[in-house]
Subunit: 430 residues, 2 copies
């Protein structure tokens, strides 16, 4: 593909809204200058001059948005999973992140992360790096080459980081952040900076306030963690005794963002009514990380309550507390988690439907990036072509059924091609 | 490999008991006449004459036992997963199983199942077929060729099966069972019959009693389902009003088995104190199917309570309510489910540890087949050789860490070779 205007043909599925999945068997999907012009049963005449790529029986779905992933944790995913959050951080995570002062280490490790990100269902991601400027810039350099569109945060932490993973003071952390921003200014097309206070236990009041101010001054978005684990929630209450909730603590420091400049809060497992109203008021995004929340015995976030309150929700893999960057697996676990919330916690909160979870993984999280995550006219052309022929079937399956089946069998859904804004960023070698 | 006496070298991991995993880095694993002679740091002199196969950095673990899987459901796995049990059975499962009166259909579908079973981590399985004798025999013929050792049941159901999936009477069902047993007598080495009343809603009192008697007369084991879903539990109470619990209903019909001839009961999500004592008294096996129980919004079984009561427990994939035959995925979901039981249901019931779940998947379920599922001296030599090199790491990982990591990343654990009783039944073509 030389230019980014073309037509793809195949089994198309996407969300127009949260209530349904639109499908086309052997439909046409049009991309003009990197923008989707819609899906069609019959190709409109005006697009007949475009080059057609026929994918036959393969599936074509929107690229997915991973709203929360920790790049430096990728290479140790899947170990230490019998621990809960605070023990896991101090035993596994913080010692690992401390290694990113070593650039040889960072280059090699971030290459594993970036290459696997390029090959997975994700076309947009919001990424935590570490507190190290040089390694964070290396990560951004590598991500820029993948073609995946990202926000990346140099992490801020001036307390409770332990040996080798703590900035000396709030002022030093703010200065380092400004240096990082200066070093990358104008450097990337696809890779954007985002302010990243790790979470309140890692950031002094002064640092939090400084980041809130910097966000306002520079028009920069913020990402952080909120109400993930009972011990963490209790700790935040001790650290910011004047707060009425964990979310209110972020509010006090002016880091909850605005509708125009939304903050992403990962987890929100223990977000009650007050936090729901704070998240809503600020137009924040909840990055729902069900895999992580089950692995670290955190609990299950009440996603339907957030949706009913009109809060923006997307999905995050949260590697390495999440086990994998595969968004299909994250969708699968999101469905299981929401069924268990209904069954075990509150039978008034109905399980998320497959349609709803498909929406969250694509257009829900995608909206953080603008018109992203759908094949409606005017959306960025992010698409993944999938070969599901390894899963034999005895019946004629609808596109809807095949989409569901591949989510429940992520290992057998093979990505053939991946497009971001109409540019092919990955193709599988046979 | 011509004979079944040899030595394998690699990264070895297995359970000697439920509390720990024994590991050897570049250890030796000895097989003599299909029986394991143990794992060793240094190869004992007496085994130095045996042919050595060096697997280098690859992992070697015991084959796994899938205590509960429905062969005819395999090809529609992963669809209809927004439904609960009874709706899922009537909408998807029963109409599908009715098709197995057609032998062309059965031959093709069971070939997909058998070939994928041969290629997965499972070396022992306990399988539901359908009510059709001819198709069940076809399944057994195919399974015999895979080398995997199985129990297979022609399903009994004389009520509530709907169109095309119901035997005309208890007597007809019992007669068909006897004909099936006569047709396969002495036919197989690896494939054993098991009596299979689907569950009480599918079997009249007369049929249940007849099967209890047949089990006693022929020395045949029984498998069924127990206390999976709240609506099902309520229905059984209506159907057998004299029973004090669902398990007691099975007891009334003499189908709960004995320590020498143990019954497998799948699920046991809603098994309270009375059912726990019944399961224990009869030496029954609980087939814990966490994936299925989350997918169908059934709930989470209190596995630690069963273990503390001394009940036999193994894991089942329960395809197609379970999404996959991959036992690593089942282990992963078992861990997540048990963490959520602790967090959301009862904080006195601690989550299962990784060591415990590894044991359940190997030696726990394996014990149903005898000395199976460990590399202790005298156990059947069932082993799986795994290449996990696709998962890059920045640290030197212990064998224990690599075993945990592959469970949390099942898609990237590639099976190279699989042995059952010392016979290689599968080898991956590069």
């Amino acid at each position: 593909m030389i230019d980014n205007s073309f037509v793809l043909r195949g089994g198309i599925a996407y969300s127009e809204n949260i209530n349904g999945i639109v499908t086309y068997y052997r439909g046409y999907l049009v991309c003009v200058d990197g923008i989707c012009k819609g899906a069609f049963v019959n190709l409109p005449d005006k697009y007949k001059g475009l080059k057609l790529y026929d994918y036959g029986e393969r599936l074509i779905i929107p690229g997915m948005t991973d709203l929360h992933v920790h790049a430096p944790q990728y290479t140790f995913r899947g170990i230490g999973m019998d621990a809960e959050l605070l023990e896991w951080l101090s035993t596994y995570t913080f010692p690992e992140e401390a290694k990113y002062s070593d650039m040889d280490y960072a280059i090699k490790s971030y290459n594993y992360f970036s290459e696997d990100l390029r090959r997975c269902f994700t076309t947009r991601a919001v990424v935590f790096a570490t507190m190290h400027n040089e390694a964070t810039i290396e990560l951004m350099n590598q991500l820029e080459k993948t073609g995946v569109i990202t926000y990346v945060g140099k992490v801020n932490m001036d307390r409770n980081g332990g040996e080798g993973l703590q900035e000396a003071s709030a002022a030093e952390s703010i200065n380092a952040t400004k240096e990082w921003l200066a070093a990358i200014e104008g450097k990337y097309v696809n890779t954007n900076p985002i302010l990243t206070p790790r979470f309140i236990p890692s950031c002094s009041n002064e640092l939090m306030k400084g980041l809130g101010q910097l966000s306002k001054d520079r028009g920069l978005r913020i990402q952080s963690h909120l109400s993930e684990n009972p011990s963490e929630v209790a700790w935040v209450k001790e650290l910011v005794p004047e707060s009425t909730s964990y979310a209110n603590a972020y509010e006090i420091f002016d880091t909850m963002g605005t509708i125009q400049q939304p903050t992403i809060m990962a987890h929100c497992v223990y977000s009650g009514d007050e936090e729901i109203s704070i998240l809503k008021k600020h137009g924040a995004y909840v990055a729902h990380c069900a895999d992580s929340n089950m692995n670290l015995t955190s609990g299950i976030a009440p996603i339907r309550k957030f949706l009913e309150a009109g809060i923006n929700v997307g999905l995050g893999t949260d590697v390495a507390a999440g086990s994998s960057m595969n968004m299909l697996k994250t969708m699968f676990i999101t469905l299981q988690a929401s069924k268990m919330y209904y069954r075990l916690v509150d039978s008034n909160v109905k399980p998320l439907t497959f349609e709803e979870v498909f929406y969250l993984a694509t257009a829900g999280g995608g909206s953080y990036f603008g018109k992203v995550g759908s094949f409606k006219d005017g959306y960025d052309f992010d698409a993944v072509v999938i070969d599901d022929s390894k899963m034999h079937s005895m019946r004629d399956m609808s596109i809807r059924e095949r989409i569901e089946r591949m989510v429940y069998n992520d290992a057998d859904a093979i990505i053939k091609d991946k497009f971001v804004k109409g540019k092919k960023v990955y193709t599988r070698m046979e």
